[in-house]
Symmetry: C2
Subunit: 464 residues, 2 copies
């Protein structure tokens, strides 16, 4: 049989144990934090009917869907239809519709909205849920961008209360603190406030997207840069001055809210937004979020499409590139499936970004394997002792591998070294006769004999 090239599909990755030690630690920590806050897991199928996905992500999104080819009779029928209309529309978009009616999940939000609609009678609202699953996008692969990658979403459906919006800030704070980040902040703004700023500054409807896009660059180009861009948009001087005054505000969230209040006094939407933001900052503080972990940032815009209330983005303060996650309140998306609006607020965690920044941060401190101890094998007569010892170690919660066969001790110790197993437990006829085992710390190459009965406890102490 010809040898098959062992190549993985373009833009995908194999994860070996060394990678998964970190990834699974992060997944567990996220899962635990979410469940501690009363968020429950849901999972949706990888494959969705195409009509659920199409039109939700723009033309670009439709083009990047991984579509499932029809099978059997349906596939043959599609080919016959193509052949019968040899002069028809043979664009990739038309062919996709002809040859496929299912596709892989593109994000977690649309499937979640479908689930809410499908199961709304089984679900008790308000419903807090989290979801961590892979999604697929046929993007051109590049450094840090893959065709199959995990998303992680946390949402609460069915409440307009700002306690939930504040909770999103608290969850960001807890997750990133527990992951060991010391340099992050969650930026907060409000979609209604942005609308109101546009209105009170007399920005015409057709220039609002461009205006907000310019404001969003504050981080990168500074206040003067934003002013230049606004001037280029041919907004009147008064409009530009007022916008710059507002987005130039600084200070505590409370001080900024107070300064904004007179400016938006004539806009109901603006006043409501300020009231909601005041609640978010008050509740987040009451939930234990330190003041340095949250900021009010009027230049935050985030995807202009479906957000309707507070919006969030968590960034590393000492890095320029991108965010660790973002989200906001979107009270109207689920209505596309249910026919009635359900208020909703949610955030995402940029998992691949998190894995990448963590790997720079602590690559050397992370263990290379889940396995903590290797029990060596001497001769067949000693196997039963070795197996019993391994059981003791496992009962003490130590992940323990028994070497597969009685090879030279040096071979077995090299195996432990190469795998990064921190502890070798050596057990030969002499040790057995003496009722002892030898614990060898592979990190320091030091070893000592201990009584068999103490082996598990001593091993625990060594591994701590």
């Amino acid at each position: 049989m010809a040898r098959i090239a062992p190549v993985n599909a373009k833009g995908t990755r194999d994860f070996l144990p060394r990678d998964l030690v970190r990834r699974n630690r992060v997944f567990s920590l996220l899962r635990e934090t979410f469940e501690h806050h009363g968020y429950e897991p849901i999972e949706t199928p990888s494959v969705e009917n195409t009509n659920v996905l199409e039109g939700k992500y723009g033309e670009e999104g439709d083009r990047l869907l991984f579509r499932i080819l029809k099978r059997g009779e349906s596939l043959e029928k599609a080919a016959r239809m193509l052949l019968a209309e040899a002069d028809g529309d043979h664009s990739a978009a038309a062919l996709s519709r002809l040859f496929s009616d299912e596709a892989l999940r593109y994000d977690l939000t649309v499937p979640f909205a479908r689930v809410i609609a499908a199961h709304q009678n089984d679900i008790v609202f308000p419903f807090r849920r989290y979801q961590m699953q892979p999604v697929w996008r046929a993007d051109r692969p590049q450094r840090g961008r893959y065709r199959e990658f995990y998303q992680c979403d946390v949402d609460c459906v069915g409440s307009r209360s700002m306690t939930v919006d504040a909770e999103m800030v608290a969850i960001y704070c807890e997750v990133f603190t527990r992951l060991g980040y010391t340099n992050f902040v969650t930026r907060v703004n409000h979609r209604g406030l942005l609308n109101s700023l546009m209105a009170v500054s007399a920005v015409p409807e057709d220039k609002r997207v461009a205006t907000m896009t310019a404001m969003d660059k504050l981080d990168k180009i500074g206040l003067d840069g934003v002013r230049e861009e606004l001037v280029k948009l041919a907004l009147g001087d008064a409009s530009v001055d007022q916008l710059i005054e507002m987005i130039g505000l600084s200070g505590t969230p409370q001080a900024m809210l107070a300064a904004l209040r007179p400016m938006v006094a004539d806009s109901t939407e603006g006043v409501e937004a300020l009231d909601e933001l005041a609640e978010v900052f008050e509740y987040a503080a009451a939930m234990g979020v330190p003041t340095e972990r949250v900021s009010f940032d009027m230049s935050l815009v985030r995807g202009l499409s479906y957000y309707t209330g507070p919006i969030f983005e968590t960034v590393l303060t000492d890095m320029q590139f991108g965010s660790l996650g973002g989200g906001g309140r979107y009270d109207r998306l689920i209505g596309q499936f249910t026919g009635r609006d359900l208020p909703c607020v949610g955030i995402s965690f940029g998992l691949e970004r998190i894995f990448d920044t963590l790997s720079e941060q602590d690559a050397n401190e992370e263990p290379a394997t889940t396995t903590q101890a290797l029990v060596t094998l001497f001769s067949r007569e000693t196997f039963a002792h070795a197996f019993a010892l391994a059981r003791d170690l496992r009962a003490a919660g130590i992940c323990t591998e028994v070497y597969t066969e009685p090879k030279k001790l040096s071979t077995q110790l090299t195996f432990a070294k190469n795998k990064g197993i921190p502890l070798a437990v050596i057990l030969g006829p002499e040790e057995i006769a003496a009722g002892a085992v030898v614990l060898r710390d592979m990190r320091t190459s030091t070893q000592r004999a201990v009584p068999s009965a103490d082996a598990a406890a001593q091993a625990q102490a060594l591994l701590r």
Copy 2:
């Protein structure tokens, strides 16, 4: 915008929290058991190049692959090729190759073999790994059979030692015992012994598959039934008698092995198989597997294709239908990718079968949600107290949800009841003034006031 029907793709399932409480408990237990035995996680992409998958699962398997439709220019080119050969082969198989060169994973074994080949220089052998990921098969959906479902594989590559084969029996025993099964046994046989039985009973090459298929039915049709089938195959009387004598053997594995020894004395393969089986039973016992959890079963055949040594199957002793898992030694499969054979032994867990049998077993005992406590909200003035209390409970490891807004207490308690949250923690102005909270056990509808400072400890005790 027209409402979109919230229908999931055919043969797939949405998992709500109630389902995932059980599923995630099983996943965690499996993961923990495997890691305790020194098995490390790996993960492979969902999408594989088709040439990696095709031809590994027979024609049926190739037909059931979920293939990814080509995109953009490649898709348009495929259509042009079809149109240019209007009289060509337009079977589904040919069309599949024309319109697709990637497909979803069909099992975990082939991707694992690919990973071993691709990363053989990064991997330290012997390599113990486990993998739990979904696979996709376009089977006709029916009760208990889905198009997307999880597989769970545990394998060790790079050792011919029977300690590893025995470890597979030990892992089955530990997993099913910890899951609460009291009625399972792992049946063990050996592919080499089966070959040898065929040889010493003078079964012609061309009747061996049919003979083993007949033997495999012992469970269902009994020894007389098997004899009838063997007679129908027109094996000579002597052959039939000898086969029936051998597969009719009973007793302890050791007694059966002893009885077989003279019968296969002339077959090197048979003698080696008996030696290996003797090791498997000896080591499994030394690893702590009780005698009633393992049996030597000469009627076990299991997939005739790639096994080369001991084979395993774990079944429920009080149920007829199917197995909870199976596996065996396959020393030559990985060679298809690496060009050199690597010895291998592995088992699978039938996860969907496990979820189904567990759900019959303990559906009523399993919690309906991961959330353990609901903290009620009274008025905005009490929010800070409620949030602080929730933090205390979470710090004590209790999964705690704060109700989203100050509604009537009865509404909030009904919410807890409907979700299956076992504990409500009630905190109004009176309790706050008294430095107390009310713990309400939702399962018994009883409640009592406790000092705020004791709330977490008392809640822990109630939930235990």
